[in-house]
């Protein structure tokens, strides 16, 4: 899951200030908080459906939480179908030609480069 640092003793003083400020995302308990926040938000959004007049084009939209259910189940179906597609569509990177999908040669110490063609 999100942000597991392998080396807990890493020197973070060289990170940009903004990056250091966001390091709380590295802690497991904070991830749990984010996920719980998402659950609460989802629940609130469904409840909200009962408290306003929904202006709709189609009758099916009037069903409480229609958009929530549609979003959840269609996305789950999307991922599961796509995963199934891998069974017969996935090939190795070299399938069409060797080096077909590789970036240009790039030295490890080139992280400081300023130009693409350095």
């Amino acid at each position: 899951m999100a942000g597991m640092t392998e080396n807990q003793n890493e020197d973070t003083s060289k990170f940009p200030a903004l990056g250091r400020a966001l390091l709380f995302l590295d802690k497991k308990e904070n991830i749990e908080r984010v996920v719980r926040g998402l659950y609460i938000l989802c629940a609130l959004l469904v409840v909200a459906d009962f408290f306003y007049y929904k202006k709709v084009y189609f009758a099916v939209e009037r069903f409480p939480g229609f958009y929530a259910l549609y979003g959840f189940f269609m996305c789950a179906a999307l991922v599961i179908c796509a995963k199934g597609m891998r069974l017969f569509l996935m090939r190795s990177e070299e399938y069409y030609a060797p080096m077909d999908v590789e970036a240009e040669d790039y030295p490890e110490d080139g992280l400081d480069r300023e130009r693409v063609d350095d």
């Binding site: 973070t12 990170f15 996305c75």
Partner: protein, 569 residues
């Protein structure tokens, strides 16, 4: 009919002058100025037909200015400005020049009032843009560039063939609303469809965009496909088949986007999906729908460029854009991460971000016309977009498992370009009035209603919930180093294999015929030799005397024959 300075000319002039300037900040500054001057020229063009040139008994119209051309001309200028700023650090003259020529051709095409002028710029975009792919200088990029060029040039050839048939049929070359029916109009439609990446004609896009240079992909993402959307909106508004083509276009790329590893290819698939929304808008063809197409093209060019910029910055700093190799970059590239998230929120149509105020025009238009299945598909595609572009891209690049990579933040010019683009995405989403004012028709649409905001948030947050649940249960497919077969398999694998085996069969048959003939002739020669050669049966039996006797008999026969013939006469 007055003459105006055509905006594309400034791009061509700049492309000619640029290589003569010292390669450095000065040259970059000149290049960045070009789209600004171009946009000012466009802004000051009055509506109407200008710069008409007689040509072989026809009338070419270099500048046809109306609101539809205007909004595309302006967004192309803005995209050119942002992508050239993003490429400020590039010192490769080929890329600098081709970016200018490419943007200039696209702008020229938008203002073209006839099919011949359109064709000229249509091919211009193809030829100029391929150098942004070849500039990567890898074998893969070279091969991809070749495939891209062949398909793009083919689109132009089909366009001019269609235009010729259309001219013979109607005596007109004006580029205006057409009705599908004759072969000419179908060819023009097909030509637009190739550039617009219609289903089964789409693979050049997913092939080429991830293969271009870091900055080249940003340039590529803006022009070709949106030029095609413009051409469809100009030539075929309200053509019903486009509704279904568009709906399929929104649908199938999202499945590929979920399992694709190369994040720039994921973005190419989602670009294809976004084009689908615009094509549906053209197909519905009402004022609301065409406004939606124009608005969505405008918003889309910005957020798609922003997403390509942020993934490009990652590629630039780490040398890879593969989801399987990335993760945890938010620590050292936090600004790039934030810009990426803004682009992701915009493409996902979160309230206050640009996609929200543009995509909904198209959904409403299709619902309004009672296309409920299409509407359902578009709604599904909207959720799917959030899933792969909104969550997957930022998640696997900047969060997910820590890759251990600690690259520096992107260079200043990239950050500046991303910052301006991100600002525009939020500005359009929060205050859509200026965008709506640019649209081809009057806008009678309020995006921010309670129903729209809450239903959209439900759709998006429950998609996020689905992602979270699938991730936690381990069902979500991991990023794997791989390629996925798409329709390009037919011409990259199947067709060459068929050709190879056909060649094999033909050469086998040929070889068989030749071999048999040789064997027969050889056997005959051997036989003749064995009979008539020295020591052969014939030479053994017939001695020299026998031969002389036979010749004497033969001569006698000829003599006798002639004698008889002569006496008869």
């Amino acid at each position: 009919m007055t003459e105006f300075f055509p905006p594309f000319v400034i791009y061509i002039l700049a492309a000619l002058v640029l290589p003569l300037l010292p390669n450095g900040h000065f040259r970059s500054a000149v290049a960045v100025l070009v789209p600004i001057i171009g946009a000012m020229l466009i802004w000051n063009l009055p509506e109407g037909l200008h710069n008409q040139i007689p040509f072989m008994g026809m009338e070419l119209v270099l500048l046809r200015v109306d609101k539809l051309a205007m909004i595309f001309g302006l967004i192309f200028s803005l995209a050119a400005f942002l992508s050239i700023l993003y490429a400020w650090h590039v010192r490769d003259t080929i890329q600098q020049v081709s970016a200018l020529l490419y943007a200039g051709s696209a702008i020229g095409a938008v203002f073209a009032g006839d099919l011949i002028t359109l064709f000229f710029f249509w091919e211009g975009t193809a030829i100029a843009s391929v150098f942004l792919i070849w500039a990567r200088r890898t074998p893969g990029a070279y091969a991809t560039g070749m495939r891209y060029l062949i398909i793009q040039i083919a689109s132009g050839v089909i366009l001019i063939a269609g235009a010729a048939l259309f001219y013979r049929e109607t005596g007109e070359i004006t580029f205006d609303r057409m009705t599908l029916g004759s072969i000419g109009t179908w060819l023009i439609f097909l030509s637009f469809g190739i550039k617009c990446a219609f289903p089964l004609l789409h693979n050049w896009l997913q092939d080429a965009y991830p293969a271009a240079t870091v900055t080249g992909t940003v340039v590529l993402s803006a022009f070709t496909t949106k030029l095609a959307v413009y051409a469809l909106a100009r030539g075929f508004p309200g053509t019903e088949i486009l509704i279904y083509i568009g709906a399929i276009m929104t649908l199938f790329p999202i499945f590929y986007a979920v399992i694709e590893n190369d994040l720039r290819r994921v973005l190419a698939y989602s670009l294809n999906n976004q084009l689908g929304f615009m094509v549906v808008g053209v197909g519905v063809g009402t004022e609301l729908a065409l406004n939606g197409t124009a608005a969505h093209a405008f918003a889309h060019i910005l957020y798609k460029a922003l997403l390509f910029m942020s993934v490009g910055a990652v590629l630039f700093r780490t040398g890879t854009a593969k989801g399987s190799e990335l993760g945890g970059l938010y620590k050292t590239m936090p600004l790039t991460m934030i810009f990426c998230v803004i682009g992701a929120a915009s493409i996902s149509a979160f309230p206050l971000f640009s996609g929200f105020v543009s995509k909904s025009l198209i959904l409403s238009a299709s619902a309004h016309e009672g296309h409920y299945i299409v509407w359902g598909i578009l709604l599904f595609a909207s959720a799917g977009v959030f899933h792969h572009s909104g969550i997957k891209i930022p998640y696997f690049a900047f969060f997910a498992h820590d890759s251990g990579k600690r690259p520096r933040e992107a260079p200043w010019n990239m950050l500046l370009a991303m910052g301006i683009t991100a600002f525009l995405c939020i500005a359009i989403g929060s205050y859509p009035a200026p965008l709506y004012a640019l649209l081809p028709y009057d806008v009678d649409y309020v995006p921010y209603t309670t129903s729209h905001v809450i239903t959209q948030l439900q759709l998006l947050f429950f998609s996020a919930l689905a992602f979270t649940v699938l991730m936690r249960t381990g069902i979500y497919p991991p990023e794997l180093k791989s390629v996925n077969l798409d329709f390009d398999w037919s011409y990259r694998k199947a067709l060459p294999a068929i050709l190879r085996s056909t060649v094999g069969i033909i050469s086998a048959i040929w070889g068989g015929i030749i071999g048999t003939a040789q064997a027969l002739i050889g056997a005959a020669l051997v036989r003749i030799y064995s009979v008539y050669g020295p020591g052969g049966a014939a030479s053994r039996i017939w001695g020299t005397g026998t031969m002389v006797l036979w010749i004497a008999i033969l001569l006698g026969a000829v003599l006798l024959f002639n004698f008889v013939e002569l006496n008869r006469g």
